[in-house]
């Protein structure tokens, strides 16, 4: 083992070469997320793409309210923190005055699909050329595990103590499917990051999305089916397993809309 030190300054052990290290655009500071939380993985992937495509200088991010409210502490790009649900409106404002910049939002399911439903739909419907990163963990992580619009039927949260019951709390909202129906949506995909294979695919999707933004042809919308070990009251491994077995049947992975196709 090496002693602990800043990663940038590390050198490879003798006879070895570096094959992977965290992107330099991801600030080298501990993240506040709970152990095993998907947020960290997606943060890293975004920043890998930003680093690899050399767009750090022209990228502007929008952090919403939710566990990712502190995203700006980790993502080394200019950022604005948006009121709960309004990230895409804030991003619209930024993009409209800087059409040549790369603008992305990073939003949870409560943020994007509950309080922010109107902004989400209208931003995509206008076809704003931004990237929307949507972390669907089926719960309000930040505020302590309340029901989200995407919470599964029967799922216990702090506001569905008897499990989500449709007659009271309605159905899980598949907002990404709605989004895919909007003409302003350019690229819509649903990914996950709980296994190595999923991470690789997810990164490809992010690469595509950031590249597509340059086309200026509409919104790139990426859902990440994510875990929330704390909110779900599971260990990270249990959570990923539960995600695979329960979330994916409801939120099947894959591309919903791809430029050139459909």
């Amino acid at each position: 083992m090496f002693e602990d030190r800043k990663m940038e300054t590390m050198t490879a052990p003798a006879g070895m070469e570096l094959v992977y290290r965290r992107p330099s655009t991801l600030v080298d500071t501990p993240m506040h997320y709970c152990p095993g939380c998907s947020h960290g993985v997606v943060h890293r992937l975004i920043m890998e793409v930003v680093e690899e495509t050399g767009i750090q200088e022209k990228t502007i991010g929008v952090a919403p309210v939710g566990c990712s409210v502190f995203a700006y502490n980790y993502l080394d790009v200019d950022m604005q923190e948006a009121p709960h649900g309004r990230a895409t409106a804030v991003a619209t404002g930024i993009k409209r005055v800087h059409p040549d910049k790369i603008v992305f939002t990073y939003q949870g399911d409560g943020d994007l699909a509950a309080i922010g439903t109107g902004e989400t739909i209208h931003t995509v419907n206008r076809g704003e050329s931004i990237v929307v990163v949507f972390i669907n963990n089926a719960i309000y992580g930040m505020t302590g595990g309340q029901m989200a619009p995407t919470t599964l039927l029967g799922m216990v949260t702090s506001t569905t103590p008897f499990g989500r019951e449709q007659p009271v709390m309605g159905y899980p909202l598949k907002i990404t499917e709605l989004i895919a129906h909007l003409p302003g949506a350019y690229f819509v995909t649903r990914q996950a990051v709980h296994t190595t294979a999923h991470v690789r695919k997810a990164k490809k999707a992010l690469q595509a999305a950031f590249e597509y933004q340059g086309h200026n042809k509409g919104t790139c919308f990426l859902e990440f089916v994510s875990n929330c070990p704390s909110g779900w009251k599971m260990t990270p491994l249990e959570a990923n397993d539960w995600l695979e077995k329960n979330m994916l049947p409801m939120y099947p992975l894959g591309d919903l809309k791809v430029p050139g196709r459909n």
């Binding site: 506040h32 997320y33 709970c34 566990c67 409210v69 930040m142 704390s230």
Partner: protein, 188 residues
């Protein structure tokens, strides 16, 4: 008890920090004292830490949030570091032995290291470490009677967990015993 006593319980989430404070508070209420219990809340819990402030007083309590304490009961290293500074002179710093690497150093404090986790493991139930700590704490600061604590426990614990009451009582006793042994120089 002439004046109010202000305690911080602190540690990681999952160690039973909040209920430790709550049971103490309930016991004090049963004894007719004024009590306030104030948890840390919000995203800082996400960092894995949890703490609560308990104030027990013969009269009305003003602020439930204070920054200087009479006693601290710490169940991890960050809590020792954080709250050592915030103890009043001659205050009590009681910490769980196994979870703390660097012990507190202030000279004007009464410092007690309690091997609650190992004792709890010995008792066959790691979860009662917090009650061992509470027992130890109460033996040093006899703010409430053990009967009141047991009373409080039976109110706070849901009926279906009442079979655990004897175990908890035992843990309180173990904690008390630890202190006497430490003070008698037996342990450590």
């Amino acid at each position: 008890m002439q004046r109010s006593h202000e305690i911080i319980f602190a540690g990681f989430g999952g160690q039973g920090i909040l209920s430790m404070g709550q049971i103490l508070g309930y016991a004090a209420m049963i004894e007719g004292k004024e009590v306030s219990w104030m948890p840390s809340y919000g995203p800082e819990m996400r960092g894995g830490t949890a703490n609560c402030i308990v104030i027990i007083s013969p009269g009305r309590i003003s602020s439930p949030i204070i920054t200087q304490f009479d006693s601290a009961v710490a169940l991890n290293q960050p809590s020792v570091e954080k709250f050592e500074k915030r103890l009043k002179s001659n205050g009590l710093m009681m910490y769980e032995e196994s979870t703390v690497i660097t012990p507190p150093t202030r000279e004007d404090l009464r410092i007690l290291s309690i091997p609650a986790v190992s004792e709890a493991i010995a008792m066959g139930k790691k979860q009662v470490a917090n009650m061992i700590m509470l027992g130890a704490f109460l033996s040093v600061q006899p703010l409430v009677r053990k009967e009141s604590v047991m009373d409080a426990l039976s109110k706070v614990l849901p009926e279906r967990h009442h079979h655990l009451l004897p175990l908890n009582e035992q843990a309180l006793d173990v904690g008390k015993g630890l202190v006497s042994r430490i003070e008698a120089g037996v342990a450590h």
